[in-house]
Every structure is written in C-alpha cells, then in structure tokens.
Amino acid sequence: MIQASVRPVDGDRSRATGPIPYVPGEPGVWVFLFGDMVVFGVFFATFMYQRAQAPELFDASRHTLSIGIGLTNTLVLLTSSLFVVTAVRAIRLSQRGAAQLMLAGALVCALIFVGLKAVEYTTKVAAGHVPTQNNFYLYFFILTGLHLFHVLIGVGVLVLLLTQARRSTLSATRMAVVEGGACFWHLVDLLWIMLFALLYLVS
C-alpha cells in the first residue's frame, strides 16, 4: 500500500511500480558510477599505503590543513545534494519553477565549493605547502585535484539538468538521464566525504 502511494513521487515510471527493483537513472550509468568508485577506491588505497610508510609525517601534515574550509565544503556539498534530490522530485511532479530554483541552488553550492577550494589551495601554497614539500601534500593536491575535476564535470551536469528542468514534459530516456546526472552529483558528494575523512580527520 505504502509502495503504491510513494512510488509515483519517488520513482515514477509505470514499470517501476510493484516489487520490481528500481534502478535510479538507467542501468548503464552505473557502469560509469561504479567504475569511477572502484578507481577512487584504488586511489584511497594508494594513499593509505603511502600513509602507512610515514605515519608521523602524515599526521603532522594533517594538522596543518584548514579543517574549517574542509568542513564547510562538506556541508556545502551535502546541501547541494539535498537541492538535487528535491529538484529531481520537483521535475517528476512537473514543478518546473521549483526544480529550476533547486538546481540553481545546487549550482551555487558547487561554485562555492570551487571558490573555497581555490582559497584553500592559494593559502596552502602561500604557507609553503606545495606538492613537492612531502608525500602528504603531494597526495593532498592530487586527490583533491582529481575530485575538483569531478566537481567541474558535475557543474556541467547540473547545467544540463537545469536545461532539462525547463522542459514541460520529459521522455523516459530524458528522465533517466536526469536521474543519472543526479546520481553523478551524489557520487561527487560521496567521494568528497570519503576524501574529507581520509585527509582531514583520520589520525
């Protein structure tokens, strides 16, 4: 009963009602999402291995990071994910205005993230913390840089979603692309949370 009443909002595609498992987006997009996650898993494992080689250096360097900026960026990305979830829901309900507003909010969050990252990078470099300083900062810049690259792709994806939100109706394929794009943004968020914990918090 609950399924029947919730589905039209949370996964409105006629074939998705009932007990059939519902895949957000289209199955194909998960080839990319899982593939990317696997590779980031390898990145994280490489970092952990390097950290095990020099635990004191990594812990001392960790304390020189700006945890305030890191935490703010985490909250900014979590907020943007909330905006995206709400936007997808609004698109399903054909509330175009609300969807566009929510996606604009997510875009603003994304740009705040990029701006804060730029501030963080410049202050770190000004303080003499450059990639060549030690292995911690080498990995810090590379891992956050690769994540930033994902955020920039994500900005493109959010703009694409914004153009779709303007349409009065969406075909099943377009709706699947919108959901896939939203899932990508959540992946960007998820990877940052992992990265934040790994670089800023784990001692």
Partner: protein
C-alpha cells in the same frame, strides 16, 4: 564478406593490444616504467644495458603500430552510421584515428633513438628517453576526444535498433575521465602522477586495455546490427544509402 572483414578488423585491434603489451613489456622491458627521478647516467645505463631488446621491441612497434588503423576505421564507420552522413563527429573521429598509431610509433622512434648509440653523452639519451615517455604516457588528448565523441554518438543514436547499447556510452565516459590524469606527467618527477605512477600510468593502462577489448566486442555486435539492417533493406528492395 563485409561482415567477416569488419569483424576481423575489430579483433585485429585486440591482437594489436596484445602485441603492444608483448613488445613494450616483455621484449623491450620498458613496462614497468623507469623512474623519471633517475639521473641521466642511471637512465643512460638502462638503455645501454638493454639496448638490443629495447631496439627490437620498439622496432616491432614502429612496424606494426599501423595495424591499429583497421580497428579505428571500423570505429569511424560506425560513428558515421549513427551520424547518418559525413558530419563533424565522424570526420573528427577519422582525423583523430590518423593520430592514434603515431602515439605508439612516434614514441617508439624516440625510444629507439635513445637506445641506438649506447656510447653517447647520457644527457642526450635522457632527453630522448623523456620524449619517449612524454609521448607514450602523456599524449592522451586525441584518444580522450575520440572516446568522448563515441560516447556522445551512443547517447544520440535514436534509430530503432541502435548500434551500441547505452551503457557503452557511459563506459566510454568512464574511460575518458580516467585517461585524463596522464596529461599531468609533465609536472611531476615522483608520485602517482609521474609517468611511472599509479594514477598517470597503471590505471590508464589498465583502463585502456579494458576499453580496447570491450570496444572490439561492441564493434563486432554493431557489425551484426548493420548486416541485419542491410538484409532487411535488401528484402524490401530498398536502395542502400552510400555508406
């Protein structure tokens, strides 16, 4: 006949992938890569100690790199079929395909030059060796552009029976994203983004191998789709558009 020639070119791509691994890894011994942090003397010693095997492995690549072309021709033809005419996407695909074998043969020429005169000044050998790695690992732009175009084509294919499944489009984006870090090798001498690093070398190499194999399989399926289309057209006595 068309079908078997085209499927053969798809598998030739996989055979060349195997050939590349044998030539660079087992014959030349240049994979795993030497460290960019080595001094000129250390680098030159590697080339003089293994000069013959390096020259044989790379000479084979200079000769055979061009056998990648039929694979890329088939890829371009399939993009052309999706686009429907010789438009920007298929022409870009063709032009970038021309650059592909150079990625392998041009770097091999520099590697061969480095190993050719073991008695020469180590600084010169190191410079030639740098050129080998800069082209082999760092020249990622052409292939990434090809793969992004291919992904885009998969997504816009609106025909009744598309040539490729949609997941193949996302798979290509995955490859494109992971291929990008290779472009950073010019900035690092150590670490994961150096030319012997995890992110710039090992992951892109692994993903490239997976991409070649998956793409070859997908191309053989696309050839079947095309053959079925041609048969249906023949049965209906429709004119086949010039392909």
């Amino acid at each position: 006949m068309h079908v078997s020639i085209e499927k053969a070119s798809a598998w030739l791509g996989v055979a060349m992938l195997g050939g590349f691994l044998v030539m660079f890894w087992f014959i030349a011994g240049l994979v795993p890569p030497m460290s960019p942090a080595l001094t000129a003397d250390q680098t030159a010693r590697i080339y003089s100690d293994h000069d013959l095997r390096i020259r044989i492995g790379l000479a084979l690549m200079i000769l055979f790199a061009w056998l990648f072309v039929p694979f890329l021709a088939l890829l371009s033809r399939q993009v052309r079929r999706i686009e429907g005419y010789w438009g920007v996407m298929s022409l870009t695909q063709v032009m970038l395909s021309v650059t592909f074998p150079f990625g392998f043969s041009l770097c091999a020429l520099f590697g061969v030059a480095a190993a050719y005169r073991p008695e020469r000044n180590p600084d010169v050998t190191q410079a030639l060796s740098d050129m080998f790695w800069f082209i082999f690992v760092g020249l990622v732009g052409p292939l990434i552009t090809q793969v992004v175009i291919l992904a885009f084509c998969v997504f816009i294919d609106r025909r009744q029976v598309p040539s490729f499944p949609r997941w193949f489009g996302y798979f290509n984006i995955w490859y494109a994203v992971l291929g990008v870090p290779g472009c950073a090798i010019y900035l690092f001498k150590t670490g994961p983004l150096a030319w012997n690093g995890m992110f710039a070398f090992w992951i892109p190499l692994t993903v490239f191998c997976i991409w070649m194999i998956v793409t070859a399989i997908m191309l053989t399926k696309a050839v079947d789709v095309e053959a079925a289309e041609r048969q249906a057209r023949a049965a209906n006595r429709e004119w086949e558009p010039a392909a």
